[in-house]
Amino acid sequence: MTSPDAPTEHWEGDVNEAAVEDWKADTTTFERIRQVIDVTTEPQSAKQIAERARVSEPTARKHLAALAETGRVKTITTDTGSRYMRAPQMLAMQRIADIHREHTKDEIRQAIQDLKSERRDFQERYDVGDIDELTLKLEPDDDGWQDLTRWQQVEQNLEIAQAALTLYDFDPDDSRSAAARASEGRTATRERGALGDNPAHSAA
């Protein structure tokens, strides 16, 4: 790490290549595979993942298998071998956990209402039913692209907010009663969704 008084400690050569060297120095092969797969939204071969993570192909295969085991990686079997991508459900859980910690049930309901009305505004303004119809209508230098991006965001937010609402009281182990019994005599804890105290958060 550089300090404010050490202006000479910058990279040598090209900043893009230096970033690769620093990344390799700061991480294990497993961490690099995890970081690469976490940002992979289209299925890729182990060879492609290995190249991106700067590890050997056998190492990539080993770590991808381990990550698939935990549900973080989705494996797709094709005629030409396995393809890998991040598991969407696994990663949405992080955001749902944050929402449960930061928002009440009513706030989530309100957000869903607002998002739905924003969707209606787009449908009326462009006279289309869904995003695909709008995509077909837009030309490369149209003004509507920002609206399209926003609409995609609205749909994603809606999916997450609805899942967060559904899972809000999810507690098959009745863990909160157990926690309440364990801390008997203390004052009631603030309202919080079922996943809101997920300790996995700090590992993000």
């Binding site: 202006p7 900043v15 700061d26 690469v36 955001r95 926003r150 995609q152 994603q156």
Partner: protein, 151 residues
């Protein structure tokens, strides 16, 4: 919501999972990072990285970062002195897709080719941090878009 961007083309929704990774990169890389958080978890539009100091006379600065699901991005710097610049990658008809909006205004017209050639999120974040750090240490924004060091 979409202010400060000039995106023309289908870039997809915000990729908050990738932004989580970028948040860790900045938080672990620089002791000057004071806060790194989304503007909202119900409706995330950007990741905000706040630094407790800025380039030259600025007493603080902030990167507003957007990463989109199709791999496009925008890293927008602003500071206490009103110095704005932006490393972007997205469709922009007639201009390079990877481009740099120079300080102090980060205007939409007159962009230059960005010196960031990598597209891997963790590497883009590291490279932009290095460029920022050099500007901070030398108290000058002149070489922000210069990949070589020494230039």
């Amino acid at each position: 919501m979409t202010e400060q961007t000039d995106i023309e083309g289908n870039v997809g929704p915000i990729d908050d999972v990738t932004l989580e990774g970028i948040r860790s990169v900045f938080a672990n890389l620089d002791g000057l990072v004071e806060e790194a958080a989304f503007d909202s978890r119900l409706d995330p539009t950007k990741l905000e990285i706040r630094f407790s100091d800025g380039i030259g006379d600025a007493s603080w600065c902030r990167f507003d970062i957007r990463w989109f699901q199709k791999g496009y991005y925008s890293f927008h710097h602003t500071d206490e002195q009103g110095v704005n610049f932006r490393f972007d990658y997205h469709p922009k008809p007639g201009m390079p897709e990877k481009h740099f909006h120079s300080p102090p205004e980060a205007r939409s017209a007159n962009v230059e080719q960005s010196c960031i050639t990598t597209t891997e999120p963790m590497l883009v974040a590291r490279a932009i941090h290095s460029l920022w750090r050099r500007a901070y240490d030398t108290k000058s924004v002149e070489l922000l878009n210069e990949a070589e060091n020494p230039p």
